[in-house]
């Protein structure tokens, strides 16, 4: 049984009820950070050694390291000979709470595995990135470790990923591909600091 715990609303003091003093207090904290960082960036751009170093990450040129547990765009792994690891067992399709994985199984032309995916499609717009497909896979064939987080597109069709797309990043490696390349579109990387220094 779950106990019922009565929670009472916090009573605001008169000072808090007047609203503006609290608002200004909040803005003061934000402005402090803003101007401090602005000063550091300008300083570093002019070659000064500011302490402590600046804390803003200059995304997308600079990226934060991603935890190995982080879940993003899927990929289908390959065997050392390049064949898909997937055996179309439908475990991920069954586990998927959004029903966004669509697999059609077929008789494999490769004699060593009986079953393989004729089609393996993921509707990324339905995906909630829960990772249950990765958990369910008995073959370590599907992973969500591409490190790719810029999931944007101009049409719904772009988010309908097919087998070839998913296999493209599934080289027989064990380390996550980070930061990713998505279909030849290289991430444009410029070092602003070096630029400012005139290098």
């Amino acid at each position: 049984m779950i106990d019922v715990k009565p929670v009472r609303n916090v009573e605001l003091s008169l000072w808090q009820k007047t609203y503006y003093p609290e608002l200004l207090k909040g803005l003061w904290v934000t402005s402090q950070h803003f101007f401090r960082n602005l000063g550091r960036h300008v300083g570093r751009a002019l070659g000064m050694k500011t302490e402590p170093p600046m804390v803003t990450i200059l995304y997308p040129e600079v990226r934060r390291p991603i935890s190995p547990r982080w879940r993003g765009l899927h990929r289908l792994m390959r065997r050392p000979d390049g064949a898909p690891r997937c055996v179309a067992c439908m475990m991920c399709e069954t586990a998927c709470p959004d029903k966004c994985i669509y697999i059609t199984a077929g008789e494999s032309p490769d004699g060593r595995v009986e079953k393989f995916p004729l089609a393996f499609e993921i509707d990324l717009l339905r995906c909630c990135f829960c990772g249950l497909c990765v958990e369910a896979c008995p073959e370590d064939a599907i992973r969500m470790d591409t490190g790719y987080l810029e999931l944007a597109g101009y049409s719904r069709e772009e988010f309908y990923l097919d087998r070839e797309f998913l296999l493209r990043r599934g080289e027989p490696t064990t380390h996550p591909q980070y930061p990713g390349e998505l279909d030849g579109a290289t991430v444009h990387r410029v070092d602003l600091v070096k630029l400012a220094k005139g290098h």
């Binding site: 179309a88 669509y102 077929g106």
Partner: protein, 558 residues
């Protein structure tokens, strides 16, 4: 009648009942692989061992080959039994491949089920040490064998010998090399080959038709009746429609036999098993068609309006002799009853019949298959869809008269007359009949010959009853809606009746069936609600004698 106790629960069973069947009466499952109630007992799998106490003495026996005795105490859940079964399972799983993810039987596999009940041990065999046997081995046109998964229960081999009457599968070699294979020089190609897949307790024998199509846990199951011949075998329709991306048109995934002691026992023939493809075939009629001018798109209402008009005009001008109906014994009892009510009783049409000499015939044998491929001929006879009165003309004569131009309106259900007529005769029929209305399920010659075509629902798309050759009324359950604009046939007669000013009984299939029960003598007392799952004999018709089953144990009552 011995009284015995199983797990402390008392039960009384007929003399000779074995312990597995006795336990089944209490809904207690004694695990087993080789035993099947329809086959001879071999007692080879050793999974069904139970502890038995009789006259103060305790022993371990196999449940399949031990007859229940008075005062017996059977224990299915003791520590010793659990240990024995765990040991037996470890032997079975010693060289069993780790195929579950790609095995079609996963989810309905007895190795999986019993391992979870009694095994749960870690394997003591390294993956690399496992024995290898034939994989993806073709044993026949419909079945694939995976020898590594086989537990050598011999059910399939016994089925072929005892039921199908042919030796096509056997177990060869000795000990650890034992392997299920084809009898040399023979393929598994008897008319009942598909049953070995149902019998296989593991994934060794899989059905090529179902292989890799769906995982079994996706399937939904609806009881039904096979309409492939006049036997009316009881079946389950395993269907799935939510994953249409796999094969878009296909809704039925497979058929499985449903036990009915009086009709088909545990089996169905392959003609019935794979006959379901017609339901989702590409040439299904899904929309009404018309030849009439000035109508860009045919609608069911439009076709019905025109048919009613034509019938009315013909009756007014030339009387009931100018209308003829060729009905079908593939239609259900309800369809035929309303058809007879409308045309014979209300409109006084004399020429109506279901039988044509040119109808397709099937193979007949002494096991299940009947030559008559229509599921409801007995029903048509009982309901009385036949020519009557002075001017009534029977089946073939209706066609002959129609060719001579005796009818203004000809209504044809299911029958493809064009297959029985020459090109010349077809043209003559089209010219001499003022109006031909065709009710059909598939694209055929009649669709082009007829003036109007109404698509109708097939057996898997409707609730209906059929009367098999024994006189047993059996019902089907509807798993999904008819394809496209297809209608149930009885609904067409009802709508037509309304337009002709004759209201027919009941707005639902249950109501129609109940009114058959009040009107037709042999259906007296039958009600839709009162229809048991395994059918009911017509009034005055007795149950046929049951076939003697090889196991010699009294048959289960479930």
């Amino acid at each position: 009648m011995p009284h015995l106790e199983i797990n402390g629960k008392p039960v009384e069973v007929p003399a000779g009942t074995n312990l597995i069947e006795a336990a089944r009466r209490l809904n207690i499952e004694i695990p087993h692989y080789c035993y099947h109630p329809g086959l001879a007992v071999v007692g080879s799998c050793r999974m069904c061992q139970v502890e038995v106490e009789l006259n103060g003495r305790k022993s371990i026996v196999v449940g399949c080959n031990t007859a229940a005795a008075d005062g017996m105490k059977v224990f299915n859940n003791t520590e010793a039994i659990h240990r024995i079964r765990s040991g037996v399972l470890e032997f079975y799983l010693q060289h069993h491949p780790l195929d579950c993810p790609i095995c079609d039987d996963a989810g309905e596999c007895d190795l999986q089920n019993y391992y979870l009940l009694h095994g749960l041990h870690d394997s003591r065999v390294e993956l690399t040490e496992k024995h290898h046997k034939h994989k993806v081995h073709d044993v026949g046109p419909t079945v694939v064998l995976d020898s590594e998964r086989c537990v050598l229960c011999s059910r399939c081999a016994r089925f072929c010998r005892e039921i199908a009457g042919v030796d096509e599968l056997g177990i060869f070699e000795h000990g650890g090399d034992s392997e299920l294979l084809n009898v040399p020089g023979r393929l598994l190609e008897n008319d009942y080959a598909g049953n070995v897949v149902d019998l296989c307790p593991v994934g060794a024998l899989t059905d090529k038709d179902f292989r890799f199509r769906r995982r079994v846990w996706y399937l939904k199951r609806t009881p039904s009746v096979c309409t492939g011949c006049s036997r009316g075998c009881n079946i389950y329709v395993d269907w799935e429609t939510s994953r249409s991306y796999k094969n878009p048109q296909r809704r039925i995934q497979r058929l499985k036999p449903r036990y009915n002691r009086g009709v088909n026992e545990w089996w169905i023939c392959d003609r019935g098993r794979y006959g379901y493809h017609a339901v989702d075939a590409e040439n299904r009629l899904t929309a009404p068609r018309t030849k009439s001018d000035g109508e860009s798109e045919a609608t069911v209402d439009g076709v019905l309006d025109r048919a009613a008009e034509k019938i009315k005009a013909a009756l007014a001008k030339h009387g009931p002799k100018s209308v003829a109906v060729i009905a079908s014994s593939s239609s259900s009892n309800e369809d035929l009853f309303l058809l007879k009510r409308l045309f014979a009783d209300e409109l006084k049409v004399h020429s109506l019949d279901v039988t044509l000499s040119g109808e397709p015939k099937g193979k007949e044998d002494e096991i299940l298959m009947k030559a008559d491929v229509s599921p409801n001929r007995r029903g048509a006879v009982e309901i009385g869809v036949q020519p009557w009165g002075g001017g009534g003309v029977a089946g073939d004569d209706i066609v002959a008269s129609a060719l001579d131009g005796d009818y203004e309106v000809l209504i044809v259900v299911h029958h493809d007359l064009t297959r029985m007529l020459s090109q010349k005769e077809r043209n003559r029929l089209g010219q001499n009949c003022d109006y031909i209305l065709y009710l059909g399920t598939h694209e055929n010659g009649m669709c082009h010959l007829a003036d109007d075509v109404i698509p109708i629902a097939m057996w898997a798309e409707r609730d209906a009853t059929y009367t098999n050759f024994q006189g047993r009324v059996q019902r089907t359950w509807r798993p999904f809606e008819p394809r496209g604009e297809a209608l149930c046939e009885w609904r067409v007669w009802q709508e037509l009746g309304k337009r002709l000013g004759h209201s027919l009984p009941a707005e639902s299939v249950a109501g129609v069936f109940d009114s058959i029960g009040t009107v037709v003598a042999s259906f007296k007392g039958l009600t839709w609600e009162g229809l048991p799952a395994n059918g009911i004999m017509l009034t005055g018709v007795s149950e046929p004698a049951y076939r003697k089953v090889q196991s010699s144990h009294p048959l289960p009552a479930y």
